[in-house]
Structure formats: C-alpha cells, structure tokens
Symmetry: C2
DNA sequence: TTTATTTTTGAACCGTAATTCATTTATAAT
DNA sequence: ATTATAAATGAATTACGGTTCAAAAATAAA
C-alpha cells in the first residue's frame, strides 16, 4: 500500500484561495491551482469532487471558524453590549487580516451565494449574522442602543461597510491601514447606534 | 433597403440586465438573453461585439447617470453638507429603486472590476466616489463633520453598507422596505459622523 | 415588379477548460 | 524480493456556450 505524503488537501485549498481570489472563481483554472499546489491536475479531483465543491469547502470552513469565534464573544458576560459589538467587528477583521487572499475571495464571490436561500453556505452565513443580531438585540433591551433602528438593517449596514473596506484593504493594504479602518468603523458604529 | 424595427438594442440591454442579475455574468447565456429580448442569438452580436462589451455598456450607462445626479446635488449651494450627504445617499437609492434587477447585477458583478485599476468602469466609479469625498471634505472644513475620521474610509464604509442593503432589498423587497432602510442608514451616518 | 441593400436568423463552428481514466509510481505487507 | 493496493499523474475526452457566417427575410429604391 502507498500512503499519502504531505498534506495535499491543504495545499490545494491554499492554492485555490489564492487563484480564486486573483482570477475570480469562474476565470480560475484548475490546472493553475494544481500547479500552485504542486500536484497534477487530476489530483485535485482525488480530494474534491468538483471545482464548485472546492469553493464551497473554503467558504464553509471560513464561516464555521467565524461563527465559533463570535459565539464565544457573545457568551462572555463580562462584556457590555457595546464591547461585544466591538468584539464582533474585531473578530471579522482579525480573521481576514490573517489571510488577505481569503478576504478578497470572500468579497468577490460571496454575493453570488445570497440568492439561493437554503444552500449550505447561506445557512452558515445566517447563523453568523444571527449572533450579531442577538448582540444588537440585547443592547436595545438593556438600553444601550437606539430602539428606533431596525436591527436587521443596522447589522447589515455594518456588515456591508466592513466587507467593502476589507475588500479595499485586500487590494491595497497601504491605502487602507486596517488599524485606522477598524478604529473609524467602530467609532461611527458606536456613535451612530448608541443612545 | 431594410430599416430596423423597434429598439432591439434597448431590448437586449434590458434582457441582459435581467439575465446577468439572475444568473451572474459568467453563468448567463447569450442565448437566454436573446430569447428574452425576442431576437435571434446572433442578433446580439449586431449590437454588441461581445458578452463583455454588453456588460460594460450596462455599467457605464449606470455610472454616467449616477455621476450626473450627484454632481448636481453637490453643486447646489442652498444645501448644507449634511443635506448634501443625505442627497447623495438618496440618489443612489432612487436610481436602484427604479430598477431592482440593475441593483442586483451591480452588487454581484461590480466587485470583480475593482481589481484592474484603470479600466473604463473603475475610472467612472472613482469619479462618482470623488464627489462623495468632496462632500465629506467640505463638511469637515466647515466644521459639520468629525475631523478625526478618515474620509476615504468613511465614504467607503457608507458605500459598502448602502450597497449591501440594496442587495438584500433587491432579493427580498418586503423584508427590507427601502424607506426604512434609507431612514436608518441616514440616521446612523449623520449621528456617526457629525460632531 | 424587380433589384439592391440592410437586417435578422440560428445552426454550425471552435476554443476552452472541467473532468475522466488508463497508466505509472510509491509504499506496505508477505 | 515480490506482490498488492493506494496514490498520483497528465494526456485524452467531453461538454459547454460564445461567436461566426451563409442563408433568408424585409424593405427601399428603381
């Protein structure tokens, strides 16, 4: 018997993130991913049944990680609502800061998934947003946040703004220093929604 | 001689907006666009030299319209900085409210263009954002807006938030009534950035 | 009516790249 | 060593859909 050497699956995933991010999912070629991962074209299919499955794997890993992180924050009872909200925003920045290619891929391709309500990715994505909404909810209930703002709208406004800035940062890190970006966003959000 | 009947070019554009919005640019088929426009597949190529040119035409028409509208607002000297900013946001909502398919197309495909800095579309897009930045600039200078916020960041945060909510609205208009969306966004922005 | 010219058609063409699979390679077991 | 089996290869296959183009249709001019 022969056993697998190295971690080809991970190599392929990393390569795919890079190529998908640069070229966009549809223009990305499996052969290029394989080359970057140092495997043969056909090997990609030993680990992923199709190009699409590979993309979905990347996204679902990402969501699972994000969900776990923000869940932890939300469960901490030493944090105020405002601090939880800041922590939520920080988490997103932290995860993507660690991998700008993933950030790029995320902003470019995620919009295409929002359409079909009940695919795996949308379910995860909604789990994630629900936690954000819970934080906003509690903040309203304990009188920290403004009651008159719709929570779904507020949460998605923040989400969209954060996502767009991550995109710009991923394209030109120097023009959008993440520290300043985070700081400004948190300032606007806090000032904009607290009473 | 034979003369053209109807306005096939416009029919094709409208059909393309719809099909691109629903299926995404890459999955959209010329044959489907042609069918929806009531022309033969080949006819699309009498009006547009390629699928990509057709997409670019749609986007550039959109940007040209938006630029003209926000320019007008910015030139009015009876408006305060805050009112101009509100007017800017309103303009975007107005244009997309009139055509939710276009909104959907815009949010799905625009991210793919940001990469290549100097294509036609990015130049238009930057013209548009520059006007937004000018409004923010003036607001800072006349002491309406907070000096400590970076203008590029602020403008893009707002832009991203607005875009994402337009996306959600285009997918489920009932869940995201645009009036409430506009109202909340303008509230957060005003409160978030004014001194 | 006939002819010339422009518009339109849609099936065939063709390039591309995802996917497959016969073959080769590497290792574990005997 | 030899064999069996799993892993890996990459050229061949195949599907797909954008684009082309020869033929048809429509109208204006003669």
């Amino acid at each position: 018997m022969r056993r697998k050497e190295g971690n080809k699956e991970q190599d392929i995933i990393s390569a795919a993130i890079e190529v998908f991010a640069k070229d966009g999912y549809h223009e990305a070629k499996i052969s290029k991913i394989a080359e970057l991962a140092n495997v043969a074209t056909g090997s990609v299919y030993l680990y992923f049944e199709s190009k699409e499955v590979l993309l979905v794997k990347i996204f679902s890993d990402l969501w699972i990680k994000l969900i776990s992180l923000v869940k932890t924050i939300n469960e901490r009872d030493d944090l105020s609502s405002t601090e939880k909200l800041e922590g939520f925003i920080d988490t997103v920045f932290d995860v993507f800061t660690a991998n700008s290619k993933l950030a790029l891929l995320f902003v470019k391709e995620q919009p295409h998934f929002l359409q079909e309500k009940d695919n795996k990715l949308n379910i995860l994505y909604n789990n994630f947003l629900e936690i954000g909404e819970k934080i906003l909810d509690d903040g309203v209930n304990n009188n920290s946040f403004n009651k008159n703002l719709d929570k779904k709208i507020t949460k998605n406004f923040i989400y969209g703004g954060v996502r767009h800035l991550l995109h710009l940062w991923a394209l030109s890190p120097d023009e959008y220093p993440l520290n300043k970006v985070r700081q400004d966003i948190k300032y606007i959000v806090k000032k904009g929604i607290t009473k």
